[in-house]
């Protein structure tokens, strides 16, 4: 059991650790790319633990785990470009009491193989680990076919599954062992651009909200890559004389509803920022819960109801209203109104 009590800005540690193994590597490893960090730490874990089997659908090169093919030998399965079969094979591996780790682009994994994840994994309660790479709207040079604005919406609608979305490499290092040790089907959501290790040095409680900047009357909640943009937003707003709190969520399912409720009770306005479609993302989850328990003004900033465009990540985010400047102006406009 993990018990955590909140004293708002300063949370008190009360947790017992059930993790079988943890990562104890040199703190010198300071990755800016979450994908590099994933490949690095995954190798460390997989080589030592024979219960894991790695499965690729012709995207091992993208995950930078190609060399694991040789090292894992029998524990590596290449299924080719066939995501539906990929999930089925993983389910069969799990039936054989091994733990399959499945990698693909988030959009193909959650979209193409949704029915297989639903029936063969979640409904069957088979412990399959899903790793979705390049999620969100930042894999922009490849165009909207490769961007993912619906994975949270799709996966969170399935019972029995957990969703982890680390905000940076430092957080990935903390989450990866917990993700792999979890007995439930789990989805790990990684992203493409480089990111500052914002969560480094902040208190971290597994599956709980994480306070990045102490709570104020206006509080921003974000996850994944958009924590970068949210962090910049907070700094810009501060220069304009508006103090905001900043909360990171690394676990979107099960969502830390208690933590969010406590934040809402402290807040005049909540701002939820995500590079996800407006339907079924974190904004939707928080809005439906808070409107019932403690109605609070919520400004939901997301990619709206549209597909992205091709171009640089920053250009695409700007088009979708998710660049720092656009976010700041949206918040200022909202503050003027309310």
């Amino acid at each position: 059991m993990i018990k955590t009590t909140y004293d708002y800005g300063q949370a008190i540690i009360k947790e017992s650790n059930q993790i079988n193994f943890s990562l104890e590597f040199s703190e010198k490893q300071n990755f800016s790319s979450i994908r590099d960090a994933y490949a690095f730490y995954l190798k460390k874990i997989l080589i030592k633990n024979s219960k894991y089997v790695l499965l690729d659908a012709d995207l091992g090169t993208v995950a930078k785990t190609n060399d694991l093919k040789i090292k894992l030998k029998k524990r590596y399965i290449q299924v080719g470009i066939a995501e539906q079969n990929l999930i089925g094979i993983a389910a069969g591996v799990a039936q054989f009491k091994k733990i399959p780790i499945v990698q693909s682009l988030a959009v193909f994994l959650t979209g193409r193989a949704f029915d297989q994840i639903r029936e063969s994994v979640c409904y069957s309660e088979l412990n399959v680990k899903l790793v979705g790479m390049h999620s969100g709207m930042t894999l922009s040079p490849d165009g909207a076919t490769h961007q993912t604005g619906e994975d949270i919406s799709l996966i969170s609608s399935l019972p029995n599954i957990e969703i982890y979305s680390p905000a940076d490499s430092h957080q990935l290092k903390l989450i990866l062992p917990k993700f792999l040790n979890s007995k439930k089907p789990s989805y790990l959501r990684l992203f493409f651009p480089k990111a500052l290790n914002i969560t480094k040095g902040r208190k971290f409680y597994h599956k709980k909200i994480q306070i990045i900047k102490n709570l104020k009357k206006i509080n921003i909640i974000s996850y994944g890559y958009m924590l970068q943009k949210s962090y910049e937003t907070v700094n810009i707003l501060k220069k304009k004389g508006i103090d905001c709190g900043l909360i990171n969520l690394h676990c979107l399912k099960p969502l830390d509803y208690k933590g969010i409720l406590k934040i809402s009770k402290k807040s005049k306005i909540l701002v939820v920022i995500e590079d996800h479609n407006q339907f079924g993302g974190l904004g939707s989850m928080i809005s439906s819960y808070i409107s019932e328990k403690n109605p609070t003004k919520i400004l939901s900033i997301n990619s709206g109801d549209k597909f992205g465009k091709t171009g640089l990540p920053e250009e695409n985010l700007n088009y979708l209203g998710l660049s720092t400047n656009k976010i700041v102006s949206k918040i200022l406009k909202y503050l003027k109104k309310y």
Binding site: G80, A82, N85, G88, I89, Q95, S120, S124, L126
Partner: protein, 279 residues
């Protein structure tokens, strides 16, 4: 593997018992899928009640067991009846098929009861799961490599995932895998030859690097011979038994009809089967 006339007669007798049981279950449920449940019944009886299948109520959790995947999940009344007769669970619950909160769901759920090895309903998924277990069994088994059997329908062959898995099995030389296609020639909207013709199955599977065996799927001797061929097969290819069957087999009034796929079974049908078996 040898099978005497006595053994075959025993299998035929069991088929009769299970057939009556399945029709009773479907009548009590008021809905279900008699077409496929009855067409595949003789194949499943041969598989479960002959002595080559290493699966019983004691070892069903062990990695040494053979795996039977029912990819065509709607055939489950037959699976439930067989498992109950094999002692995996109490026969009394067979009457709860499709009733609220029954473990005998309209389509099976993995581990809901001992011996249920996959969740099936959305077609085409079981064969991938079978491949996943088969490749794991080949790579990680210390001694004897377990065999994997997977029963699919012929309508199910429309699903693209089946062919993704077929390509995977052929490529990875899963010679411990035996897929069985119950070719009962019907699907919901019509005859398979009219909806989306998947014939010739032999050529398709052979081109995916499979070993193919075509048999009469309602003839116990021929089914047993097909299994014997698979078990004696020394090559590296996965095997598919293409079993020609009759939809609704045994219930003359619905045999071969497209409507037998999901036709509700009434007391009229029950009387018919009782008359046939002189009960």
């Amino acid at each position: 593997m040898n099978f005497s006339k006595k053994k075959i007669n025993r299998l035929k007798k069991i088929s009769n018992y299970i057939r009556i049981e399945v029709i009773k279950m479907l009548q009590m449920a008021g809905s279900g899928h008699p077409g496929g449940s009855l067409s595949s019944l003789d194949i499943l009886v041969c598989l479960y009640f002959s002595d080559f299948l290493n699966l019983n109520k004691k070892n069903y959790k062990s990695n040494k067991r053979d795996l039977v995947v029912l990819s065509a999940g709607h055939y489950c009344p037959t699976l439930y009846a067989i498992l109950a007769y094999k002692g995996f669970f109490n026969k009394r619950i067979l009457s709860t098929l499709r009733k609220f909160d029954s473990p005998l769901l309209g389509h099976p759920k993995l581990y809901e009861l001992p011996g249920i090895e996959n969740s099936g309903g959305s077609l085409g998924q079981g064969i991938s799961l079978a491949c996943g277990y088969a490749i794991s069994a080949k790579r990680f088994s210390k001694n004897k490599i377990p065999k994997v059997y997977c029963l699919m329908g012929d309508g199910e062959q429309n699903e693209g995932q089946v062919w993704e898995a077929a390509m995977f099995a052929g490529h990875n030389k899963l010679n411990n895998l035996c897929a069985i296609v119950d070719i009962n020639k019907i699907q919901i909207d019509g005859y398979t030859k009219d909806i989306l013709n998947a014939e010739p199955f032999e050529k398709k599977y052979q081109s995916f690097n499979w070993n193919t065996i075509r048999v009469d799927g309602n003839n116990h001797i021929k089914i047993m011979n097909a299994f014997k061929k698979f078990l004696n097969y020394k090559g590296k290819k996965p095997t598919v038994i293409l079993a020609d069957t009759v939809a609704g087999k045994g219930l003359k009034s619905i045999e071969g009809l497209v409507t037998s796929h999901g036709q509700p079974i009434t007391t009229k049908h029950l009387d018919e089967i009782k008359k046939i078996f002189k009960l």
